[in-house]
Amino acid sequence: MSNEKNIRIVKGAERFQGSQDKDESIQLGLLSDRRNYLEGNRNLALNLQDQFEFERGYSNTYRLYGKIDLIYENAISGTCTTSNTSNWMDNMYFIPEHIGCPGGTPCSGYPPSMLFEFIPQKIYGPVTTTFMDITAYQDNWVTYISYVDSHDTQQDMKLYYDYTTNEYLSFDSGDGIPFIVSATTLNGNDILQFVCPVDHGLTTKMYFEIQNNNTMSVNGGVNLLTDVTITVNIGGFINTTTKQIFKVDFLGNGNVGMDSKVFNIIMDLNDGMSALGGNTYGMGTFKRIINPDNLAETRSEYYVHQHKLITKSNEYVLDRTGFENGIFPKKGRVYKAKRTPNGGAKTVIKEEFKSYLWNCDKDINRDEYYDNRNRPITDLYLSIFQTNRNGVWDKSGNRLCGYGWNWNFTNVGVVDPYVSNTNHPANLVQTNINEGIVFPTEGDVFRGAFVEYNPYELEERILSEIGHSLAFRQSKFITDGSIYKYQPHHRIPIRKLSTSITREMEFEMTPQYARYLVSEGVHRWRTMLPIGVYEEGGNGVSYPYLNDKHYPYLGIEFLVQPIGFNHSGETITMIQQFGDVCE
């Protein structure tokens, strides 16, 4: 406090005659939030709801469970070449149905529904092993719990422009989002139109940077777009500038739903074609940018998740659901004895859509795991892998499945060579065709989704989930080469990050995963929302809490999808749409 007035201090004895000195005191107000420690006099109001909230917030242990609805289309037929008395032949759904296969091997048909089921009732494949009830739940599939432990920016990828002319782009995951670009004219404007196989994530206020890295290359006649040279004629003076960073001018190509896949920039057609080596089309990759003046802190990073398993193969329980019928009708047929090669009548189920209850047997302590961005994990994953104990699927070398991303599994009547287990084998080892895979174990690492991370937005965006491919063993079942695809990793949200970003100047006040933004001089992070707290838009999680454990539930539609040569686009589109709706 300050003032401009004079203050006189007069001693007590000198104020007036007869007055005396006396002590003066100053009252100091000391605030304290401590309660007195009085033994025997400590009261606390007990409240069950508060106690529940306290314990729930304190617990970090998770028990995961859920339901798997199996959805597939048993669409790939072939020729069974095993003996007339083999299990494989005996379980084959013969075609034409009204004739069967009285003449014996080779017989045309479809595999039985047991090929897809999680708990087959017997040995149905070309192996000669003995069926065991107790392990049947792992004869086709095995499940684990995993989390994203790290990421890989050097995962090689391939996007085909044309399968018949073998034109494609090779790139690494760190190069960004691939595109097919064309120089064209739309509504009187010369444009470069970029078509992406995944959502580009751009708006018309954003910028993107065309990449020019030595990890990118093209094959065939397609050209690689690495930059664009703009030529400007100013009063007869020709000025050229080479650019890699552009602002998006508009989205889409006029078709419904394509705004998220297509973006355009307006430029002279000659400049565009020149950048494409004189062609009207080319390929390349780009990275999304928030602020072109601050590339280092606002340019997106791209990578592939690396999942680490945190359970063993015996740490889950799988049961059939009772009283639940599949969404599609069951299809099967009774073959009379005269229509089978071994002279025995049989009933074969071709399609039946069963559901299963899964239950992770291991208590998972969230405190023990940090994700690839050094954050406490927010997602766990139910990871499902094919086990091939019936010896139906082809193993190349010692690897069972191939892998790829959405653009590698498009329904264009061709199987992308990228996804074969010879070219890109998943981490599933099978040394003996009669014994199934060597079960992965705790700590094993598998590839996951293709992801964008923007350091300014502080969040990841899933561009494409990974898929595994399964090809039939041609020595036992001759097909046209069509394959099946399934998604191995299924996300179980256990916590959510806030949609808003928290800022703090002092380092001591920040969590360990906060990022320091040099341009603004602040630490920034997204707060982890407490359980049961939701932000606008439904961002948040809530799940049962009992036994001092959290019980998040995951119900999935496990889609096994045919990809290949002779399947009608209509049918496959239907099943894709179904999957999209349910997800």
Partner: protein, 294 residues
């Protein structure tokens, strides 16, 4: 008035008075300790956290293919002084079993699991029931014309393809059971019990059996060996010797299945050999015998 004039010229800016406060706290951490004590007391008072999570325990079996992990039971009833694995002594007629009459399908075996074989201080921990339709339907019997004339004449008029000596036959249930993890014959196979031992540390139980007869309304107590009343030598039976099989739950950390139980003989001599692994020889089954009232 003579006064000592002291003049303080105010300046811009705050004035500070430093007051030294001597402190000698000895409560370092005591507040925290009290807080912890509060939480503990609160926990004890209103919400003791216990883990009630259960899982299914499969029968652990050293049998051979295709019967690994299958468990075999046999139940014997008295006809006079002779034990036979047959439901007829319990009043069920063949056609009632063949036609699944309610008196048959509503009957069941009930297994009680105790923490101790000593009746004076034992507690029942859990029970399991097994319907009679879990039994094998493989006993060939002649169709009796006056018991089941419909079936008798139906087979006769159809050409009697399956007749024996000109008499129609059919399969009926008999009290032999094979349970496994597969669909259809697993009711009574799995034991549901706690995953960990925090709530109850015991992992050994003593299994007894009773037969609930829905036709007669009687409960028949079963023994683990033929009744002593058939032998005049033994006249002082002890419950711990006659009623129980020894069941132990265990965890197989790396194996499949992970949670298993084993069944062994039990009597006054203690725990005996493993039971239930095979159908043959019969001695390897889990066998129960009707208790004959003295």
């Amino acid at each position: 008035m003579s006064v000592n004039r002291i003049q303080i010229k105010a300046k811009l800016g705050d004035k500070n008075v430093t007051i030294p406060l001597g402190q000698s706290f000895d409560e370092l951490g005591r507040e925290d300790s009290v807080k912890t004590w509060e939480i503990v007391e609160q926990q004890d008072a209103i919400n003791i956290i216990r883990d009630y999570e259960t899982t299914k325990y499969s029968y652990s079996n050293s049998g051979t293919a295709p019967y690994e992990y299958n468990v075999f039971y046999e139940f014997n009833f008295l006809t006079g002084n002779t034990y036979t694995p047959d439901f007829n002594p319990q009043g069920f007629m063949d056609f009632e079993m063949y036609r699944l009459k309610k008196s048959f399908t509503k009957s069941f075996f009930k297994f009680d699991f105790y923490d101790s074989p000593l009746q004076e201080d034992q507690k029942i921990m859990f029970t399991m029931t097994m319907p009679l339709t879990n039994c094998k339907k493989e006993k060939d019997v002649l169709v009796k014309k006056f018991e089941d004339p419909l079936e008798y004449w139906a087979q006769k008029s159809a050409g009697c393809d399956n007749c024996v000596g000109g008499n129609p036959v059919y399969d009926i249930y008999w009290p032999k059971v094979q349970l496994g993890p597969s669909k259809g014959n697993n009711e009574g196979y799995y034991i549901q019990w706690y995953k960990n031992r925090d709530l109850y540390s015991g992992d050994t139980f003593y299994m007894s059996c009773k037969f609930y007869n829905a036709k007669t309304g009687k409960v028949v107590r079963m023994l683990n060996k033929p009744s002593w009343n058939l032998s005049p030598v033994i006249d002082n039976p002890e419950a711990s010797e006659w009623y129980y099989y020894w069941v132990k739950l265990s965890t197989n950390t790396n194996g499949i299945p992970k949670y298993v139980y084993t069944v062994r003989e039990f009597d006054n001599n203690g725990v005996g050999g493993e039971k239930g692994m095979f159908d043959n020889p019969p001695a390897t089954q889990i066998r129960f015998y009707e208790y004959k009232t003295p």
